[in-house]
């Protein structure tokens, strides 16, 4: 319960101001703190103190409606996540839910999620859908509920205290996978409309603007055999190359992986509902059923911590596991 991470001191005295310096993962979510232009994340333990200009929390893959092993009460664990956020001494400015809000995109499942999030002290929540939120109706219900103020089929950007946030959608109109590797591989996809929008969206920004991109499916190729990647993510990232600090936050794979590539730091988050196997370690992705009840919360991600510093070339092992 208490391998809490002491990375907060790292946010003091940072010279390379435009890079993500350190981050801590904690269970049900992540707190990201902006400090002098540097994104720092800190553990989400009750009463955790953070020094920064502002913070936000990422939550992901709540899968409301899922009711099988290893978690028959995902609403409860989702609520626990919110409770933890509420227990933070310095409240986050907003929350970002990186998709798979629901299991089957039914109205009652969306209702439940909304209900739980109403109990969050931070009233502003930004969303992107996961494939579970849109697959049954091409995103109709999702857009009705969360589409306000968004562009195209639900993507959006906003600025908060000098940071430019971009919410991308890569779970719509998925096409049949035809083989291995890239190219018709059953990956997520952004599509040309969204890419055009993105290019325009960042055009007028100064290159020193910190960028945070969030989307459901990872924007780098983690494991092609399971479709864990986004077909046209390279295109999207090419528009962002000139920026000094790009942080990419994803969900989908229900486990923490990270990678640093140049100025881009990629992170995937844990689920609040159930874990999935590491890439290639099972015949298929999907819920890991045999997690004992007393271990469940630990694999929903409590207290996992690491640092990423910009001068290490690749801070994480990812697709190599495949």
């Amino acid at each position: 319960m208490s391998d809490e991470v002491k990375n907060e001191q790292e946010s003091n005295g940072i010279e390379r101001r435009s890079f993500l310096k350190c981050m801590a993962w904690a269970g049900t979510g992540l707190v990201w703190v902006m400090n002098a232009g540097v994104l720092t994340s800190c553990s989400l333990l009750p009463g955790a103190k953070r020094k920064g200009v502002f913070s936000f929390v990422q939550i992901s893959d709540s899968h409301i409606g899922f009711n099988k092993e290893p978690n028959q009460d995902v609403t409860k664990t989702f609520q626990e996540a919110v409770n933890r956020i509420n227990a933070l001494e310095d409240q986050p400015a907003f929350l970002i839910h990186t998709g798979d809000i629901t299991q089957l995109s039914t109205p009652d499942q969306f209702d439940t999620a909304t209900q739980v999030l109403k109990s969050a002290k931070a009233s502003q929540v930004y969303y992107v859908p996961g494939e579970h939120d849109v697959f049954s109706d091409d995103g109709k219900i999702y857009l009705e509920r969360y589409g306000k103020g968004t562009q195209g089929q639900g993507w959006q950007s906003f600025d908060y205290q000098g940071v430019h946030f971009i919410g991308l959608i890569n779970v719509l109109n998925l096409k049949q996978g035809t083989g291995t590797g890239l190219g018709g591989s059953g990956f997520g996809q952004l599509g040309s409309d969204q890419l055009q929008w993105l290019e325009k969206d960042v055009k007028g920004l100064s290159s020193s603007t910190p960028i945070v991109v969030y989307a459901h499916i990872p924007l780098w190729t983690i494991y092609p055999e399971w479709g864990w990647g986004t077909e046209d993510s390279a295109q999207a990232l090419s528009y962002l190359k000139r920026f000094g600090s790009i942080t990419v936050l994803n969900g989908h794979i229900h486990q923490i992986l990270q990678k640093v590539e140049g100025n881009v730091t990629f992170h995937t988050a844990r689920s609040t509902a159930f874990p999935q196997p590491a890439p290639g370690t099972a015949p298929a992705p999907g819920p890991m059923k045999d997690v004992p009840a007393d271990k469940l919360r630990s694999v929903l991600g409590l207290r996992e911590v690491t640092y990423v510093s910009n001068d290490s070339p690749l801070a994480i092992v990812d697709s190599a596991l495949g």
Binding site: F135, K175, P277, Y307, A315
Partner: protein, 157 residues
């Protein structure tokens, strides 16, 4: 140095995930495409035949597959089982007029979407079924809209 330490931390956390996982899924290995692959070491050795032929028949024409079929329990011939994120059998050939049924045995929802939108199952949660009657001959390729790497084909004669 810091990054060193952290890499370690990361590794440890990854490993704990792995361990947990190994504990969790002790069954079938990392997917070997199913069907008739499983016949190798129990080969009965052609014994009483003419020596000349032996090398030829060796591996292939094995008469007693024993308990090799641990594939899903598809009771009806026109049923396709969705299991472990795959359609089994992946290709099925039927006569025009046949009704084919898909049943989802995964704990994950799936769908059956024909590529040209000829049919679309909607959500198939665990144990849910979907049937479609194929009236005209042709090749029908389909996939799961949630996991588009899952594909299958129905050939209608």
């Amino acid at each position: 140095m810091i990054s060193h330490l952290n890499r370690k931390l990361l590794l440890v956390s990854l490993m704990s995930v792995l361990t947990l996982f190994l504990g969790a899924c002790g069954q079938s290995g990392p997917d070997s495409s199913g069907s008739s692959e499983a016949q190798s070491d129990t080969a009965p050795n052609g014994s009483a035949n003419s020596n000349a032929d032996m090398s030829k028949m060796d591996m292939r024409a094995k008469p007693s597959p024993g308990a090799a079929k641990e594939m899903p329990t598809s009771s009806s011939p026109n049923e396709i089982v969705v299991e472990n994120f795959s359609f089994q059998p992946g290709t099925i050939t039927v006569k025009a007029g046949t009704t084919v049924t898909w049943v989802n045995h995964d704990d994950e929802p799936h769908t059956v979407n024909e590529n040209n939108k000829t049919f679309k199952s909607g959500t198939l949660d665990t144990d849910a079924k979907f049937s479609y009657k194929f009236t005209s001959p042709g090749d029908y390729s389909y996939f799961c809209s949630l996991h588009p790497r899952m594909t299958g084909q129905v050939i209608v004669k």
